[in-house]
Symmetry: C2
Subunit: 427 residues, 2 copies
């Protein structure tokens, strides 16, 4: 009974897509890392447990960001007058080069992790760079902070500046080293196989990564179908393969192990079917898709097909670390898509988007992103008293107002896997 405690407040979460579960002045009973149950009235048998009473505050699941690039953190909000390919060349690659310097990496990565904490992102799927040492450092910093993450050493051996290329052998060798050292080092922070994307990885490299993923039982993340020029480039590189998704699939990198593909804006029907079959996840990154002129992903359609969908900041293609900001952006583009589809693909509601930003992406981490029994207790305590000063609002309206108008100042406390997380150290 020692590890049991209770948090009290205005609890709101989504068990099912699009439907809020609301416990006004409710109780969450936590047992160690896990949610035991949620109550409107506290049963007598728990009356001796310690109650952390957060009063009028909102309590929601922690945000799950299933696509971002840690080394691009210094570029946040820069270079956004460019499209994907020129943006990579002029902003992204020159920045990523710097992470051969472990001191620079420590400075940026610790600030990045602190920023996730500030904005209430309890779990992330993150691209590092090709550099194994700074990738290890990033994993150590996540673990030190107490936040959950899959972190990938990026693999790339073609079509990038010389200074960011490795040989396929080196790339595999270093990835293996990481899997050996970090595969079981931390409970909440794990490695993930991370080919940057098809244009920068030879098929030989992709195949070896697919084998590695199976051998070590490690999940996969990459990019798919983001931008039309990128897609034609992939077709030129692999004229014999049916489509972009099949390149990953043939290499054993599409859903043989749990897989996240970022963007998926322009998927062909066959690619969609393949992804459904292989139970792959899509990381929907609307800020980035807008900023880099990539397009609007047809999320309603992909959801109807039964795909797993989570949300991603995709910094620094996305300009905001805030998942609340990503939710607002998702809502906006889904409304434009609704118009574009002649009102067949309905806009995503706030309740649906909360689901995608918590339980939807959380599914990649196991039982994460909800307050149902057996879920790891990741939570944000939100003091929205500065936002709702003119009239009484329902819990649902308060959540909506926080998402659209709140910011880091409203997030007062953060829990990950049952543990309250203090402000991470910035080096």
């Amino acid at each position: 009974m020692q590890d049991e405690y209770i948090v009290k407040g205005n609890i709101i979460f989504t068990k099912e897509l699009g439907k809020y579960e609301i416990f006004e002045n409710g109780y969450i009973v936590i047992d160690g890392k896990f949610v035991k149950s949620v109550y409107k009235e506290l049963p007598k048998k728990f009356s001796k447990l310690k109650i952390l009473d957060y009063g009028h505050a909102l309590i929601i699941p922690g945000f799950i960001d299933i696509h971002s690039h840690a080394p691009q953190f210094p570029n946040l909000g820069l270079g956004l007058d460019k499209e994907l390919m020129p943006w990579l060349d002029s902003y992204t690659f020159p920045e990523e080069k710097k992470y051969s310097d472990i001191d620079y990496a420590k400075k940026v990565y610790s600030a990045f992790v602190k920023s996730l904490w500030k904005y209430g992102t309890t779990r992330s799927c993150v691209f590092a760079t090709i550099h194994k040492n700074s990738t290890k450092l990033l994993m150590d910093l996540f673990a030190e902070a107490g936040l959950g993450a899959y972190v990938g050493k990026v693999n790339m051996n073609r079509n990038a500046p010389e200074y960011l290329l490795e040989s396929a052998e080196e790339s595999i060798h270093n990835t293996k080293e990481l899997l050996d050292e970090y595969g079981k080092k931390y409970e909440l922070v794990k490695p993930i196989i991370t080919p940057r994307f098809v244009p920068t990885c030879s098929f030989e490299l992709l195949k070896s990564l697919g084998e590695l993923s199976k051998k070590y039982n490690v999940p996969v993340q990459s990019h798919l179908s983001e931008n039309l020029s990128e897609i034609s480039f992939v077709k030129k590189l692999h004229p014999k393969l049916k489509n972009y998704a099949s390149v990953y699939n043939e290499a054993g990198l599409l859903g043989d192990l749990p897989t996240i593909m970022a963007h998926c804006i322009w998927l062909e029907e066959e690619e969609i079917e393949l992804m459904v079959k292989k139970e792959a996840f899509i990381a929907h990154c609307p800020n980035s898709n807008n900023n880099l002129s990539s397009g609007i992903a047809p999320i309603r359609k992909l959801m109807k097909k039964g795909l797993n969908i989570g949300l991603g900041t995709d910094i620094s293609g996305g300009h905001s670390v805030s998942m609340a900001n990503v939710i607002a952006s998702c809502a906006q583009v889904s409304k434009l898509k609704w118009l574009e589809s002649n009102k067949s693909d309905k806009p995503l509601t706030t309740a649906e988007l909360l689901y995608l930003a918590t339980k939807g992406g959380g599914k990649f981490f196991g039982k994460v992103g909800s307050f149902e029994e057996g879920y790891e207790f990741d939570a944000l305590i939100i003091d929205d008293s500065s936002l709702s000063i003119f009239k009484p609002l329902s819990v649902e309206e308060r959540l909506e107002k926080f998402i659209y108008t709140g910011d880091d100042r409203n997030i007062k406390e953060i829990y990950v896997a049952g543990k309250k997380i203090e402000e991470p150290k910035q080096y």
Copy 2:
């Protein structure tokens, strides 16, 4: 010489659309309300003037918001799962009803004005409600704060809940009273003729407002062509008139005096030509256009036709008071429009958007929105030291980073018409 002083810092503004003027560690010489000149090196003749040295800070023109609804401030971030018409009925009208209560109005309006100050909006074009007393109060609060504004008592005599309707006579009578009392009361705060939009104003009322506007030499603001259902409704109401814009025009409300029309998403070619001819302004409100599923306004096209364009938050259709947020949203939708137009309508650059958010909208106020000679000195002092910590950035990049990733915390001081503005009182 008494009223002359100098501000020093990293000055950036747009004299021409799309082109930055940058004075790194430069000087703005201010004479009373006006900019006298901007210098890279200070001429000797000014060496005795007081210099306010803002060191490393950025200095940019104040933001100009040419479309917002003050009484909707409490609804910021609420009801955004709805389209325009149902949103009006369930959120907007019930809120606007409350402004018959002057105490409630004081509470909200003072918070609204303070919020504009916080986010660096030095001039605004604002809709109040039909209530003359709270409209007067809003003007008083703007004047007390020292911010510039056109404030309109809203006119409406049909197609709205009974509690928000006036007779045409009442509406004109009360508007006249306001023009008499407030036409010359303040230098920076002026009344503006504000029919809500065609659906809520009989043609008789519109015509009387047109006459009033001419008689008192007062500008006009309204809504035009926001949403497809709204447009068909207008066609039903006025089957004999060519189009939506011509209803205003026939009533003498489209550019006979300076006029702002908000949204203008679905204008017909003839309407565009009419607006160009009458030199009307368009208030582009991308957050609202997205949030209410209205569509993407074809701003590049409208700009090419020679229309006057400024930006608007349109709270609470828009969810953010921040004009920086509106700029980011404008950039995003312009990129989607570029794709939609088969890459014929180029995305708007950050430099173009700074222009629209300052000099573009500022033109409605006279010489406002630039640091050119003779312009009223409206400025924001921006401390972005928290944003740019990893590498040296150019002034241009720092501005971009502030727009995309900064917030009210970065805005350290605000000047309007040569005067430093202290934090407005919130009642």
